[in-house]
Amino acid sequence: MGRLALAVGVVAAIVYPIPLQLQGTTYYQTVGFLVLINAMLGLGWNVIGGWAGQFDFGPQVFFGVGASTAWLGLPAAVAVAVVVCALLTYPLTRLRGHYFAIATVAIWMIAQPIGATWEFIGGSQGLFIPVKARASVAASALSLQFSGPTKALGYYYSALALFALTLALMALVERSKLGYYFRAIRDDQEAAEGIGIDSRLYKVLARSITAAVFAAAGVLYAFWALSVFPEQVLELNWSTLPIMATVVGGIGRLWGPVLGAVILIPIAQIMSTTLGTGPLAGRGIDLIVYGLIIVLIAAFRPTGLLSLPWGRWFRRRRPATPAPAP
């Protein structure tokens, strides 16, 4: 059952933009791009928030770091974000629960004026990424630059590749020593220390993985947008949407953020197109729908949609066997 769903999902993700592209539509490729970016961010947030159980409401700082250093290239930008995250997070690891959450928000609030005034990263004028003509598709893909009618398609597949890479790495993390230690700290920090787990080190590691994913997504976003404005890349939505997606899909589950993003992200897009000219246009209906979904999930299924008994519902009906004679 799980395998079938996975196969259908993979095929759909790869194939669906092609007929649209042939038709000349680019809108739904961009929706797909946003779904994938948010699914990827959710996968990243799931490490610190889901497995390690530390509520981090400021990971968008590292999305901003990634976007602002995109010109260094993906690996270098990710490395910068990881170093910045490790330095910022180490002092925070003494804090727990709400206090940790508040501290992550505080760092984000401090990052905003720094982003807006520091000229080295563009300050309030923003950074612009020049579009260079590429000789071939391969060169475009490697430099993450696509333009013209294939732009939406190119970025969709770039996001798909980056998302798939993130998913594969997170699957490895979940099954590794890191995954076990993160969940041990989530369930009981004292007990974890008692069996030799350095809780401060592993919290820093967890958040650094989160930061790496956010930075990678930030780089991709910067190349897609071709410009980096601090107030845009540090927007609160870069953490709230992935966190909502993770909670809706299933916090602490590998596929949770993916399912959540597939459900939540198109809602805003569909709303804005279908209600675009109507009387409700621009009234934030999508936010009301988000709120409703979150309330329903919190009330009826706090562990997320993935925890529903899908296997039982969809299992192929077996031929009825007569009850054994008493």
Binding site: R175, S176, K177, Y180, Y181, R183, A184, R186, D187, D188, E190, A191, A192, E193, G194, I195, G196, I197, D198, S199
Partner: protein
Amino acid sequence: MAPLLSVEAATKRFGGLLANKEISLAIEPGEIVGLIGPNGAGKTTLFNCITGYMHPDEGRIAFDGADITHTRPERICGLGVARTWQVVRAFGRMTALDNVICGALERTNRVAEARARAVDLLDFTELGARKHVAAANLTLADKKRLEIARALATRPRLLLLDEAMSGLTPRETAAAVQLVRRIHEELGVTICVVEHVMEVVMPLSHRVVVLDYGVKIADGRPHDIVRDELVISAYLGARRAAR
């Protein structure tokens, strides 16, 4: 032979409360030491100081010759001291198997190796049939066994059991005593048990240390301890002892 653990005049205060006053004790390799005393005598505080969750205000603690007075818990575990908790602290949302794997990962980075060791230890503690049950759903007796298995997975040389038998039925208590004996005999681990149930500690321990109001009032063989005036008065009240 040098003691495995030595506590030298350890004092721990909480504001005006003197939880441990100049406590000295030594645990030799291969011993089972019982640490007893009425509620509030400072047994758990002493455990917390030995395992690094608290640090004594005065005095010194050494394990196998290394000073661990101000060492953090995870480092002390690395040196070979493991503990269980008075109020069980299993990783509730993880399965019994995953709990023990976390402990085994202290000595290896390979999850497959840790899993093999965890399976062995779950069989040793007779939890093998429940290894895929979430720890939160186990019975109290099984949770206490799981904590012991998780602690053993870190390959300790000294195991500190904080009331591993309290709250258990008589039958479960007997099984727990049996388990402690097997850990001592088959795994060769030195053990210190905190209990305030005399019937459990006396037959199990080679030596018993008694605390009362943060002070060590007796240290000797169980046979002698039950006849000690100070111990009797601490447990039964001064009037009864005077009779």
